[in-house]
């Protein structure tokens, strides 16, 4: 009888430890799945905010260029336009789309940039992390 009780005690303790281990394993498994989902979600939110940041920068760029005189002849790598005092250039400098001479930066983290003129609009094509984006940035003057 004594021997049987001792055996039963060992079995109960063993079950408690097993239950604890299983609970830990289950939590760990769920956390791994959640972690994967969180990572995807984080990437999604990061990309969404990056896109939002880009769209705000592009809106500012469009308004900035709207009043400027932009010649139709462009070399593709930079956009030349005329301001109050002299010619300025919109170009890629250290991954930033900025106006030179000047201190205005519109987009960040850009790998490549090119401009074109099609269908009465100036277009900007840029790439970031192997993704290509294309957007209009200005209209040709109505009399041209």
């Amino acid at each position: 009888m004594k021997n049987c009780r001792a055996k039963f005690g060992v079995i109960t303790r063993a079950f408690t430890v097993t239950e604890l281990l299983i609970a830990l394993l289950a939590s760990y498994a769920v956390l791994i799945c959640t972690g994967g989902y969180l990572k995807t979600f984080q990437k999604f939110t990061y990309e969404s905010y990056r896109t939002a940041e880009d769209r705000l920068g592009i809106a500012q760029l469009r308004l900035y260029l709207a009043g400027k005189d932009i010649p139709l002849e462009q070399n593709g790598r930079e956009l030349r336009f005329h301001t109050e005092d002299h010619d300025r250039y919109l170009r890629l400098v250290n991954g930033k789309v900025c106006v030179q001479d000047g201190m205005m930066i519109f987009l960040y983290g850009i790998d490549s940039l090119e401009f074109s003129f099609e269908n009465d609009r100036f277009w900007m094509r840029y790439s970031r992390n192997k993704d290509m984006y294309e957007t209009w940035i200005g209209f040709a003057a109505l009399h041209e």
């Binding site: 079950f15 299983i22 609970a23 979600f41 469009r62 009043g67 209209f139």
Partner: protein, 122 residues
């Protein structure tokens, strides 16, 4: 003690802990995610509205440049994508009222005839 009861207890333990963790996740992280998604949707809507506004502003600015250069000061209200634009010319200054279906805004522009540059201000 029966042999199968241990396995059943293990299974029960596994299922209960799984349910507990999932519930915790749904009630805490789920709420945060929903708020984030709601904010992102709202942000996207505002950005679409901004895009439309900027597009119309660019068209109007082109129109003002053209008016100043060709001396065609036509004050007939313009209609762009549901937005009514009222222009009032006063020499080289232009006062513009944009009337969108849900809001309206005013802008003042100045056209420099000598430098052929349109300057905008709030």
């Amino acid at each position: 003690m029966k042999r199968g009861s241990g396995l059943r207890r293990c299974m029960n333990s596994f299922v209960s802990s799984l349910v507990l963790v999932i519930m915790l996740y749904v009630f805490s992280a789920g709420t945060v995610h929903m708020t984030l998604l709601k904010n992102l949707t709202e942000l996207n809507m505002n950005l679409n509205r901004l895009d439309r506004q900027v597009f119309i502003e660019c068209l109007v600015m082109q129109r003002i440049k053209y008016a100043a250069e060709s001396l065609d000061y036509d004050e007939t209200p313009l209609m762009y994508d549901g937005c009514t634009v009222r222009l009032s010319y006063f020499f080289e200054d232009v006062h513009v009222v944009y009337e969108f279906p849900d809001y309206s805004l005013e802008r003042d522009y100045h056209y420099d005839l000598e430098k052929k540059i349109l300057l905008s201000g709030e």
